[in-house]
Subunit: 287 residues, 2 copies
Amino acid sequence: MKNASAWLLLLASGAAHGANPVTPTEIIEAARADEWRAVDPARTLLMTLAQGTVVIELAPRFAPRHVGNIQKLVSQGYFDGLTINRVQDNFVAQWGDPSAKRDIGLAKRTLAPEFTIGAQKDFQRLPDPDPFAPEVGFVDGFAAARDPKAGQTWLAHCYASVGVGRDNAADSGGGSELYAVIGHAPRQLDRNITLVGRVIAGMELLSALPRSLEPGGFFSDPAQGTRIQSIRRGDAKSVKLEALKTDSASFKALIEARRNRRDSWYLRPAGHVDLCNVPLPVRARKP
Amino acid sequence: MKNASAWLLLLASGAAHGANPVTPTEIIEAARADEWRAVDPARTLLMTLAQGTVVIELAPRFAPRHVGNIQKLVSQGYFDGLTINRVQDNFVAQWGDPSAKRDIGLAKRTLAPEFTIGAQKDFQRLPDPDPFAPEVGFVDGFAAARDPKAGQTWLAHCYASVGVGRDNAADSGGGSELYAVIGHAPRQLDRNITLVGRVIAGMELLSALPRSLEPGGFFSDPAQGTRIQSIRRGDAKSVKLEALKTDSASFKALIEARRNRRDSWYLRPAGHVDLCNVPLPVRARKP
């Protein structure tokens, strides 16, 4: 009898899902078509590896000069044939030309840092406190933080964030070395290094790369790293993705479902979600 | 001249490291021999994959019944030839027998949960607030959280934590399915599932496993997962590791160095460290 009741309950709950989605998966599936935005192919990069393709969504609002410079590098085929020469466990996968010998053509080798931008009217604030910033939330589809008193906003270092490697000087990077976060959010990097976007598809190809156990996760010989066949700018033919709008009702519901999980597996809701543990749903665009 | 000065400064700073280590690496290297503890081989499990060996340190103080049951399963060769049948990106790698058909012998299939234990006198508190618990810190070498009012202490879900898979009921797990965290700390699982330890060596073998893109990261056919050659209890011959004591002065210095990075690369110290971003240093024992 106990089992039969549970089974009936499951059916009833299943029938009601359309009206009252509970789990993150249900909420994403129930989102209306107009709550999704097409990912702009012109704002993407495609990294082709033997294993498949990694798609990066760029954040020109936060780092216009670096994004422009990287697009120049990519248009010249700068990264083609280079390797992912650093894979540090629980930290980053990094690629480029560590010897800085490859011709950068019309691009610049270094740029002034783009660590913060001004106040953003469309900042969608998370209800929870954050230990690294006065306020956190989402801007333009990206996880971000802000200091209202200073009038500053910046991208947060989360899993899948993409940034610009640099040396000790703030202005020593330009985009000829890039990294993606493959571990626990290294938020201590916020405002210390320029972020330019995030991986929106194919992240599992970077996260599953063999780690280097050498200092800093650098391969002593970059040739040991995974070869990059090419990095190209995306176009309408190659990038057919859409992302859930971060200012949509479904995204708000998703945040709440992650703050307090109400599906039956959870016995004790956390009452909190880390900025970097809010999923940013992306799917193939429906034809 | 500028370069020559920098070079002299570097030498001076190098000479002073022993006295005043600054970076996490320097602090770990400068730790005194008596600040390290030998990892007790009897409290370890060795998982052998084709790629190498993963060493798990068990936490019997937190989950004595589950640890005992897992040790029984392992002594019977329970996991040998099974697979890592779930690898969900930015979440967990999980192994065992999802069909629950394999004979568990003298072990138990399910146990009452061990989500929390009582107050611990040797709780070493982190100075920073935590969004998921009233206080966090370290107990017995493990990242932990506590609620002083409730008199409860529990292990925190961090990168490399190892836990016991369960179904919806709190008492539906027993150790015949285990998981390791391979992504951003899923702290919402704290007090919802029994943790039994952490990976202390070979984590990079689990984190680099190919992901499954099927729902929940489960391989629809468990045989697609990476084969486990064996899981055995460690012994003095196979486990020669030592871990930095979490109640040592060097560990305190390490925490402070992670809260506020003072090496020259960092331009803006964070003033905070996530519990799960404090490294728990482990090294090969010196002969």
